[in-house]
Symmetry: C2
Subunit: 352 residues, 2 copies
């Protein structure tokens, strides 16, 4: 049995999408046990309506308070102890039988709470976010870090590479992930000191898996399975891809409506355009995983629907079943043999 | 009369596109005088073929050597003195009657040569690149810096804002450019120390023109006229927009060919798809201007065709006619009144 917490509040479609997504996952995977946090009444009612009746597969922890994007993360942790998210984090920390959590709530509060309250994997300096985007070649590409760390060291970038590639391998079955370092050009001497130094560390530690420097225009080409980034430019990368694709599809739609001839032709392409939109819909690829925390944390997009939430839960299940965190610790320990700095600054906070 | 140098070598379509682009500009603007650098024979022949015959409007400086992307910039400057680009830079430096230059050659060598050989505008710490992209609202947006400076200080970001907004105003007639600071979120406290500090400087110096922090997804929205970036994330931004748009259009094309029904419908949309591709073709919006150098430098894309080169020349003419560099110096001097640091580190190198 794998026990996961599902935070049911804080998303645009909460609590319904969160609860129904979890029910879907419960129906798909018999190993799953869900701990819901949120408004007990609401959750019970939605489960009842869904027709799911196996009360041995879930429990509900009443925590009706919501953290919003307006709450300052540190205040949220301190003042909203009864919120669905902070209560989930507390259970995650205190209950050894719980493997992880899925939330669609405020990112800032989740990062802060996870960083402060949940220990790190041994050998990890700082946890990082790793969302997934579809490539034009029909595959997927991970981006690590996409914004948890706006200031990075070269050694952290190497850690992102190790964590991200093990994640791509074990959660998505990509045997030898091809790793690129997001930079301003492909030549080895490109970039600022951070990226020049990271290039050297990655070349030495990752062997052939490290393809070299990668430009932003190559992200969706299908030539890379993982883009390693400092959190600042990784955030710019992910948001720019999303924005450009959505804006361009919107423009095409507008242009179609500008002429009757186009409207006629587009009738035959309706299905295709719907598929393109669906293709670029990051919800279909699951949530953004926080890598490096001692327990599994998957952050679904704020606008997640039922399917997106169930995908996030599936991701968490795959991570747990593959024992990803142990594999990350193992690989970092191997690398630490050649890098003594890597042995410092381990472990999590001592108390909640 | 405005005298501009046109470097005719180093682009994918050189020298033909460069020479014909210049001829086009000569025919359009009677004020223009062109100094061609490159292979004298080739240039003469292309001009002759074009039918342009006013020998008082141009001259040719024989400099047949080419700098390629493979040449290390500093080596290129030192060893390829007879190349069309380095000779152009020398004339630009030594001949007071020459206002600027247009090149489609290697970016690295051009930045290095311009930085080392051409003085800066008084008050400017470091020159920056400012390319232009189309917005989905039908306008354009400038991005400054897009990669000349991978390491920046907050004061430099403020300079980019001043130079970029005066450029958008005087070269494109945007009366009050709305300036955004590329960051990982819109709230004022977002980002690393560099961007937090830059936010404060820009708020204090730019008044209402400063809209605040901007996310990558908003670049093409039409809500901003100028995105101010450190050169690293600005480079990621520009390349990611280009890459995503091109990849998505390519995917749509591929998908159309996957079904007969789609192919039928797409026949009626042929014109529209051609327009979308043309819309995203950055060549249509001119080159990437180097702002902050004492003379005007416009870098056209390596794949520039005749039209793109003529657009680059038009840009240089507009910058010269509006006396942009003097306006930048003036505004920076005003700001220096409240920021003494701004008075140091001025002027260019002393000798070639």
């Amino acid at each position: 049995m794998i026990k996961l917490i599902v935070d049911t509040l804080g998303g645009d479609n909460s609590p319904r999408a969160n609860v129904l997504g979890a029910v879907k996952a419960l129906e798909t995977d018999a190993d799953l046990y869900v701990v819901f946090t949120g408004d007990e009444n609401d959750i019970s009612k939605i489960i009842e309506e869904s027709g799911f009746s196996d009360k041995n597969r879930y429990e509900i922890v009443h925590a009706p308070e919501v953290i919003t994007g307006e709450d300052k993360p540190t205040d949220a942790i301190r003042l909203k102890k009864e919120s669905s998210m902070i209560k989930a984090i507390r259970i995650l920390r205190e209950d050894d039988s719980v493997a992880g959590m899925v939330s669609t709530g405020a990112t800032g509060a989740l990062v802060a709470a996870a960083t402060l309250r949940i220990g790190r994997i041994r050998g990890v300096r700082r946890p990082a976010f790793c969302p997934i985007l579809p490539t034009m070649a029909g595959g997927i590409v991970g981006i690590c870090d996409s914004g948890a760390n706006v200031d990075c060291t070269p050694a952290q970038l190497l850690e992102f590479a190790v964590m991200g590639s093990l994640y791509m391998k074990h959660a998505f079955g990509i045997e030898n992930p091809r790793i690129g370092l997001l930079n301003v050009g492909t030549e080895s001497e490109k970039g600022d000191d951070l990226h020049k130094e990271a290039y050297k560390l990655m070349s030495a530690a990752l062997g052939d898996s490290f393809v070299g420097n990668m430009e932003g225009r190559e992200l969706l080409s299908g030539n890379y399975d993982l883009a390693v980034c400092d959190g600042f430019s990784g955030n710019v990368l992910v948001k720019t891809v999303e924005g450009t694709a959505l804006q361009l599809l919107k423009k095409i739609k507008k242009d179609i409506y500008s002429k009757k001839l186009y409207m006629f032709g587009a009738m035959f392409l309706k299905q295709m355009f719907a598929e393109e939109k669906e293709f670029m819909n990051y919800q279909n690829y699951g949530g953004s995983v926080m890598l490096g925390t001692g327990k599994i944390i998957v952050k679904g997009h704020g606008s997640s629907d039922e399917t997106a939430v169930s995908k996030c839960i599936e991701q968490a299940l795959r991570m747990q079943k593959s024992d990803l965190n142990a594999k990350i610790a193992e690989r970092l320990a191997e690398l630490a043999g050649t890098d003594t700095e890597n042995n410092t600054d381990n472990g999590g906070p001592e108390n909640v």
